[in-house]
């Protein structure tokens, strides 16, 4: 057999040492690696291992409800079912969908696209194959669980607006965005959560939002749940239910009154004492339930493309020239500053007023004849106010408008609100230059046509202030949490709006409706004293906007309202009759004092869909 030759013998030990060295290096590398993983980075891997075996299922906390002043449910959550698919690989998932397609009609291509998007976004999270499963799909999945073990039916809560009114007020909820998750901080939201995106849903997000619970389940790698770990599981907590100042019946009635108008319009009705909003409407509108499932792209495009802008909330976002409704504030400025004697016949209105070389016209071409302040308001005589404007300092009027809050926001609990506009001396100096403007600007301001701007909320609040004895209230939809102390809604006193001045303004507004010369005389209600003021906002782009503001009953005021109908003509012609219909319904004795129910127990547990019992005067 082979003999060892001398060459090999000579460097054999060296070669063995080399091999031993290589082996030693290999073992040292392995040892260093293991030491790093098991001793130095141990904590990190231990955490991975804990996360691995625990599946924390987030149990979303139900969102709070909203109820109107008579407990009618305006916003709640509806249970709906979805079929989700647990999956391990894309191929396996697609195969399941294909197999399923022979039993249930599925658009497999669309399902694939959705699956890929889902996988990209959420990774191995169970895929909602049927996000809105019908009875057929649910029963199929339940009956065929052996053939399709990866499918399961899950229940979810979806936001619902059972009354389908006031979409602009309630807003909608939508899936949380990455920015919202980070800006909220403290891990309040996780991807897939819904939160208020607009309207009250957004403003009261913190109250309405439920506190999520979690179910900790020990799972194997294939997703088989071994059991719940109760120490790590917590129950979800519902968000707070909110009480609205809204009166659903009256809201619906106001909507129906405005809905018959083809023009865009807005109206708001306030409780004069608290500022609680009894009804508010913005037309055109949309169904609030449209967004309950999150935004559907085509629907949004439709709504945004619609030239009548149904998404636009005219209650708090649209500002108009207040027109003749503003004469109440001008009168307040005259009286508090004693600019002139209100009883004096200041002008003889022949339909025109000359200022410098310009002619200003009264709305009534043939003129009103001799006018004092009271008759000028009742007749809404522009010439009288032109004359007053010549004597009225810019800042005096601006201060009065400031008192009525026209220079700011009303503080209504909606996420987007525009402030009114009040031109001051400073404002004109900045815009037009010092000394480069004249008192002539005041002529338009005095009839509410100049630089003054207001929303229906500003105007309704003005009437409320006259009605309640001079208090500027904060309009609000939400009174506070159900079964809790109502939230504070601050109100401020308007300087000088009391005593004789208050009496005068009340008499003037009442005269608008009750005096045969009044611009709203034809809309009076024989059994209900109403005080109001019409307005006709000249619109450079089209027909005049029709304004009307009122409060009632004039002797013991309860509610105040403001209505604007765009491009509709004179306030007395269009808006005032709407107000008349609303007030007549609101104060209808059989509505306020319904016959006592035969069995009073019935009213205790009224389902949301049926009409609730009325509880007397709101």
């Amino acid at each position: 057999m082979a003999k060892r030759d001398s060459r090999s013998l000579a460097d054999g030990p060296l070669r063995i040492r080399t091999l031993l060295f290589v082996v030693a290096v290999g073992f040292v590398v392995l040892l260093v690696r293991l030491f790093t993983m098991q001793v130095i980075q141990h904590e990190q891997y231990a955490q991975f291992a804990r996360d691995n075996q625990l599946q924390r299922e987030r149990l979303p906390g139900p969102r709070g409800f909203m109820r109107d002043r008579h407990d009618v449910i305006m916003v709640d959550n509806a249970l709906h079912f979805e079929v989700v698919m647990q999956w391990r690989s894309r191929n396996e998932a697609i195969a399941t969908v294909r197999e399923l397609a022979s039993f249930i009609p599925i658009d497999t291509t669309r399902a694939k696209t959705r699956f890929d998007a889902w996988q990209k976004r959420y990774g191995r999270v169970a895929f909602p194959l049927f996000p809105d499963a019908d009875k057929f799909v649910i029963s199929f999945v339940r009956e065929n669980w052996k053939e399709f073990p990866t499918l399961r039916v899950e229940s979810r809560l979806r936001r619902r607006y059972p009354q389908s009114v006031a979409a602009h007020v309630f807003g909608y909820v939508g899936e949380v965005t990455t920015e919202e998750i980070t800006s909220a901080g403290d891990e309040i939201y996780v991807a897939g959560d819904f939160l208020g995106k607009a309207g009250l849903e957004r403003v009261y997000e913190d109250s309405l939002r439920g506190t999520p619970g979690q179910r900790a389940v020990e799972v194997t790698a294939s997703g088989t749940a071994l059991g719940e770990i109760s120490e790590l599981s917590t129950a979800p907590i519902s968000g707070r239910d909110l009480r609205l100042a809204l009166d659903f019946d009256m809201q619906q009635y106001l909507d129906s009154l405005l809905a018959v108008r083809p023009n865009p319009c807005a109206a708001v009705v306030l409780d004069v004492e608290t500022g609680g909003i009894i009804a508010a409407s913005s037309r055109p509108a949309y169904d609030p339930n449209a967004f309950a499932m999150g935004l559907s792209a085509s629907l949004v495009v439709d709504l945004l493309k619609d030239p009548s802008k149904p998404m636009f909330n005219r209650i708090s976002q649209a500002r108009y020239a207040p027109a003749s409704t503003f004469k109440i504030i001008v009168a307040h400025a005259i009286l508090t500053n004693q600019v002139l004697d209100p009883n004096r016949i200041l002008v003889y209105c022949d339909g025109t007023h000359r200022f410098g070389n310009r002619i200003f016209r009264c709305w009534k071409e043939e003129g009103h004849g001799g006018m004092n302040l009271l008759s000028a308001i009742i007749n809404s005589c522009d010439v009288y106010f032109y004359r007053v404007a010549e004597m009225l300092d810019v800042d005096v009027l601006a201060d009065a408008a400031h008192q009525f809050g026209y220079d700011g926001k009303t503080g209504v609990d909606l996420p987007i609100e525009v402030s009114g506009n009040v031109p001051t001396r400073k404002y004109y100096d900045q815009r037009l230059g010092k000394g480069r403007w004249t008192q002539g600007l005041m002529l338009n301001n005095a009839i509410g046509q100049g630089e003054y701007l207001a929303t229906v909320l500003h105007v309704a609040r003005m009437s409320a202030a006259v009605a309640n004895g001079g208090w500027l209230v904060t309009p609000h939809f939400v009174e506070g949490p159900m079964n809790g102390t109502p939230a504070e809604h601050p109100r401020t006193k308007i300087e000088g709006l009391d005593g004789n001045i208050l009496e005068f303004l009340r008499r003037a507004m009442r005269g608008v409706v009750e005096n045969p010369q009044g611009t709203a005389y034809w809309t009076r209600i024989p059994w209900l004293p109403v005080a109001g003021k019409t307005g006709t906002a000249q619109n450079p782009h089209g027909d005049h906007h029709s304004w009307y503001t009122a409060y009632a009953p004039a002797d013991h005021p309860e509610i105040a309202l403001a209505i604007i109908v765009e491009n509709a003509g004179h306030g007395g012609d269009v808006s005032a009759p709407i107000a008349k219909a609303f007030l007549a319904e609101y104060f209808r004795p059989s509505r306020l004092h319904p016959p006592a129910p035969v069995d009073s127990a019935v009213t205790i547990d009224t389902p949301a869909s049926t009409a609730p019992a009325k509880k007397g005067t709101p």
Binding site: M1, A2, K3, R4, V23, Y45, A46, A49, Q53, E218
Partner: protein, 415 residues
């Protein structure tokens, strides 16, 4: 020459310890959730491993008792038998995606495992002859042919990991027989270059490691006092790979590229190939210094570890017994390999010495790749951990090789 003094008790003790640890871990694995159905079908892995160990002891005894000269003369015959088995197994219908096993009743025999023994025997035989000189083509060509045939057959299964074991054995054996270091550099450097280029282009997007490697080759060539021609051809070969490989790479289909990058970088495919490695690393890392305790591994119990009783058994060991257990296993293997190399040096038979180096190389390569793979520093290859992993073929082959080691140790004076 056979005396009790020459019987290598240390090796026997190492093997006994490793097999016991292996049995204990296989038992632990059989306690986990997914094992219940398997038990109903075949009995526990533990019981079966116990039987394999018994069979392995008999094989070891046989390999020990028969003088190694007999194996030397049987080398080519066994090699031929293994090649036939490798061809036959390829012709059988595929089991899943691979064709690796003969199914005989309840047994699954993996011919590629036995081929490892056969190649060690044939290489030891032809490299230990008088005229053999690993630096000459008349020796290198037969060695290469004996290497490439089983390599390609196993690659066809496909089982790249096992095929690589042949390479991992042949190089140390050649080196031991006097192969010049520079030649090893010639063989290894293109492989390293290819890996560095593909890794650099597709994973780290960093070309510098390749550049540093070329400089290193130059330094080594200078230190080894290589001829100018050798140095130039070495650098040209590696730079040539650097130039042509990217072009070749671009010609591969995306799924082929992915297969390579997944092999080099399991993290790129977290749910596929990377899943095993990530879960294995979590298991080992979470074990910590002292381990979670025997039978207490959560990664194991909850089925996060794939192939946890075979190729990834070290993950369970690392999880339950911690760094202490892993360290013990490494030390046992280190002793075994060192003893094998010491026998190689002591024995007077050229064949026996080469055989022992081959066996040492076999154990070293299996241990490095297996533990490297479970701890995430070596690519995933279906290579079991000798004596510890569950599996009959691996157990019989390891026992047989240890038997040969003991054989050589006892007959160290024989030629």
């Amino acid at each position: 020459m056979r005396t009790g003094r020459d019987f290598d008790w240390v090796i026997v003790l190492c093997v006994a310890c490793l097999s016991s640890i292996g049995l204990a871990v296989v038992y632990s694995v059989s306690q986990s959730v997914g094992e219940v159905s398997a038990v109903a079908m075949h009995g526990t892995h533990f019981a079966r491993q116990l039987i394999w160990l018994g069979a392995g002891l008999m094989v070891m005894l046989t390999a020990f008792a028969i003088p190694f000269r007999m194996f030397e003369s049987l080398a080519f015959a066994s090699y031929a038998v293994c090649l036939i088995m490798l061809v036959v197994v390829l012709m059988l219908p595929a089991r899943g995606e691979t064709q690796r096993w003969f199914i005989v009743g309840p047994l699954a025999i993996q011919p590629s495992e036995f081929t490892k023994v056969a190649v060690i025997l044939v290489w030891a035989r032809i490299l230990s002859t008088h005229r053999a000189d690993p630096n000459k083509l008349h020796t290198l060509i037969p060695v290469f042919i004996l290497f490439i045939v089983p390599f390609l057959l196993v690659l066809k299964q496909p089982d790249l990991g096992t095929a690589m074991v042949f390479a991992g054995i042949v190089l140390p054996v050649l080196f031991w027989r006097g192969f010049r270091g520079l030649h090893i550099l010639f063989l290894l450097s293109p492989i390293v270059s290819s890996i560095l280029i593909i890794y650099g282009e597709n994973v780290t997007h960093n070309p510098w490691p390749f550049g540093i490697f070329i400089v290193l080759i130059l330094i080594v060539a200078y230190l080894r006092r290589a001829f100018l021609v050798e140095s130039i051809s070495l650098v040209v070969a590696n730079v040539g790979i650097g130039l042509f490989l990217p072009a070749l790479w671009a010609h591969l289909k995306p799924y082929q590229q992915r297969r390579v990058t997944n092999f080099l970088d399991p993290d790129s495919d977290k749910l596929g190939a990377g899943w095993q490695v990530i879960q294995s690393k979590i298991a080992i890392g979470s074990g910590g210094f002292g381990g979670k305790g025997y039978l207490e591994g959560t990664q194991k119990a909850l089925e996060y570890l794939p192939a946890k009783h075979t190729d990834f058994i070290f993950s369970v060991l690392g999880e339950e017994l911690g760094f202490v257990g892993a360290f013990a296993v490494l030390v046992l293997f280190a002793i075994l390999i060192t003893r094998a190399l010491m026998i190689a040096q002591k024995t007077k038979s050229e064949f026996a010495a080469t055989l022992c180096v081959g066996i040492a190389a076999y154990f070293a390569f299996q241990v490095f790749v297996n533990i490297g793979m479970t701890s995430g520093i070596a690519p995933v290859a279906g290579i079991p951990l000798p004596f510890v992993s569950y599996g009959g073929s691996s157990m019989l082959v390891s026992c047989f090789l240890v038997g040969l080691l003991l054989n050589c140790a006892v007959r160290w004076g024989e030629y």
